[in-house]
Symmetry: C2
Subunit: 329 residues, 2 copies
């Protein structure tokens, strides 16, 4: 910058004003801009950050980017940030509480302007001095939590199965013991079953149980090669995918014998086919809402919990209504 001032024959202050678009004599501005071009000058955002303690950087804490749900979330959050001229520091925690904590320290050092976190450490207590938005997990009064409307999603799954002719359904999940919004999927499903008068069972696995426990469960409900359930609601598309493999192995046809609905709206290769009929999370809206909430410092009142509407998508593992398959949007 000093060099630019020298080259243009003006003072530093003038250069600074030109850069920041402050009013300055036209002839001076042109000279400075020419010098900037000539010297290929770029402002040093570290010096800016030091001076203004504003870095236009947001940290995203997330377990990984391999999981397609997380991957899409990262993508949309990145896009939302970019639109607002913010950059993203990606922090993958691998579900490790220690790493989540460690990254919180790093963000303190790196003076990010805010943090978006999809975390699992119940002991994690982010600094109150830095804006934080949580995804899926309520973290306290002063931290907004953004999630899908999981309860409505559960209800929707129940209603759908009922409408498609199911009489006897079951809910399958592998259970995080942690208090988190997705837990409401079960409550919503129960409620939906009640409304529709569906007979309802459930099997909940612990985090470290093998998925084959589901097969044991299903075989317990198999009589004469016929499954007691004609509809299954799985807590995620991934579980649904594994369940479908198990069902096929048990010589049960999907959706003819058993209809399956998952949750998330994951697609093959990111934007290909759904793996199963599913309750689709509005990932883009979640991303946008997180960024919005994080950066709107002066929002009079930060809502403690924002639930975004989900939708149903046909993915081949339910019977089609009126014989018309809904196309992927």
């Amino acid at each position: 910058m000093k060099d630019v001032a020298l080259e243009a024959g003006v003072a530093l202050g003038t250069v600074s004003k030109v850069i920041n678009g402050l009013p300055v004599g036209e002839s001076y501005r042109l000279r400075v801009e020419a010098a900037i071009q000539k010297l290929d000058y770029h402002v040093n955002s570290y010096a800016q950050g030091l001076k203004a303690s504003k870095t236009y950087t947001v940290a995203l804490l997330i377990p990984n980017t391999s999981n397609p749900f997380f991957a899409k979330l990262v993508h949309h959050i990145n896009t939302s940030l970019m639109k607002r001229n913010y950059r993203m520091l990606l922090c993958t925690t691998d579900y490790d509480s220690r790493m989540e904590q460690e990254y919180l320290t790093i963000t303190k050092q790196n003076k990010v302007d805010g943090i978006i976190g999809l975390t699992y450490n119940p002991e994690l207590h982010p600094d109150e001095t830095i804006p934080f938005v949580s995804i899926d997990r309520p973290m306290g009064a002063h931290i907004p939590c953004v999630a899908s409307d999981n309860f409505a999603g559960g209800q929707m799954a129940a209603a759908k199965l009922a409408d498609l002719g199911c009489k006897n359904v079951a809910f399958l999940r592998v259970g995080s013991s942690l208090d988190s919004e997705p837990n409401k999927r079960k409550a919503g499903f129960e409620n939906g079953c009640l409304i529709k008068g569906l007979s309802f069972s459930e099997k909940i696995l612990q985090d470290d149980d093998p998925l084959s426990e589901f097969e044991v469960f299903l075989r317990e409900h198999l009589f004469d090669g016929k499954l007691e359930f004609d509809g299954l609601f799985c807590v995620t598309d991934y579980i649904a995918y594994e369940i479908i493999k198990i069902l096929r192995k048990m010589n049960l046809r999907v959706p003819e014998d058993v209809q399956v609905i998952g949750f998330d709206g994951i697609r093959a290769f990111g934007d290909g086919d759904y793996f199963c009929s599913t309750i689709v999370q509005p990932i883009m809206d979640i991303a946008e809402m997180c960024v919005e909430l994080l950066l709107q410092e002066h929002m009079s009142t930060k809502p403690p919990l924002v639930c975004l509407p989900v939708s149903y998508a046909y993915g081949g593992t339910t019977k089609e209504e009126g014989g018309i398959a809904k196309e992927r949007k």
Copy 2:
């Protein structure tokens, strides 16, 4: 820091030394550390970066994180960087040349220590002053390029199809006109076919052709419901996936009538099943190599091109050798 010095009753220089692990009187060190604890002090990496012009930050330029291949790459690069105490600035370009260029500007301002880029803009010429490592695309003499051994992968696919009984095979790709390493897949496949004495065809689509063109091509080679080819090598798993859908629609059985091999080693849900039999790219090794190359400033000679070995994985769309399916590793 000033506060810490005050709290501990020492000078700033002493605090700095304690932080950086430089020798200092034991009693002083304890006092300073206590003060740091008490005040919850964290170094300001922006001030550090300003002083040392070293930021421990690396930028990753990549089209998106939705594509599973990119997603895994991001994940492993992030892990590799983390191991070395570096942070990652994620820059998703959406295949947009303008954005790639724009991000290059941002990285200049942000004074990152290096850039890893998987880019598509042939006009992109990164600054020579900042370390740059390219993935899959050669970008000039002073920029190392890391890729899978695409040629060997092509050969491997041909050899595999031959060993599994194919006589008449075809190569299917949608063609980037850009000079990039994955283009060698075709050359390797041709070479492999030659070695094994396979009859060889190919269909190359332009970037904006619809995938349905492949169906047209295949139907042109369909006689009496029987396809002329008994083996297909697709340039990516995604193409393979779409091709398999087309084949099924044409009432051809995979792998009984036609065997299909893809490229990349993509799995459902990140670490589930392969979508097809495939040539697996060593994504973790690629990530590690990129980071290694980028940070080893004093590597006597930066190699212009590093090719990492690929492997074959059975994914259900080829016949199994000796009746034994290879499990996913």
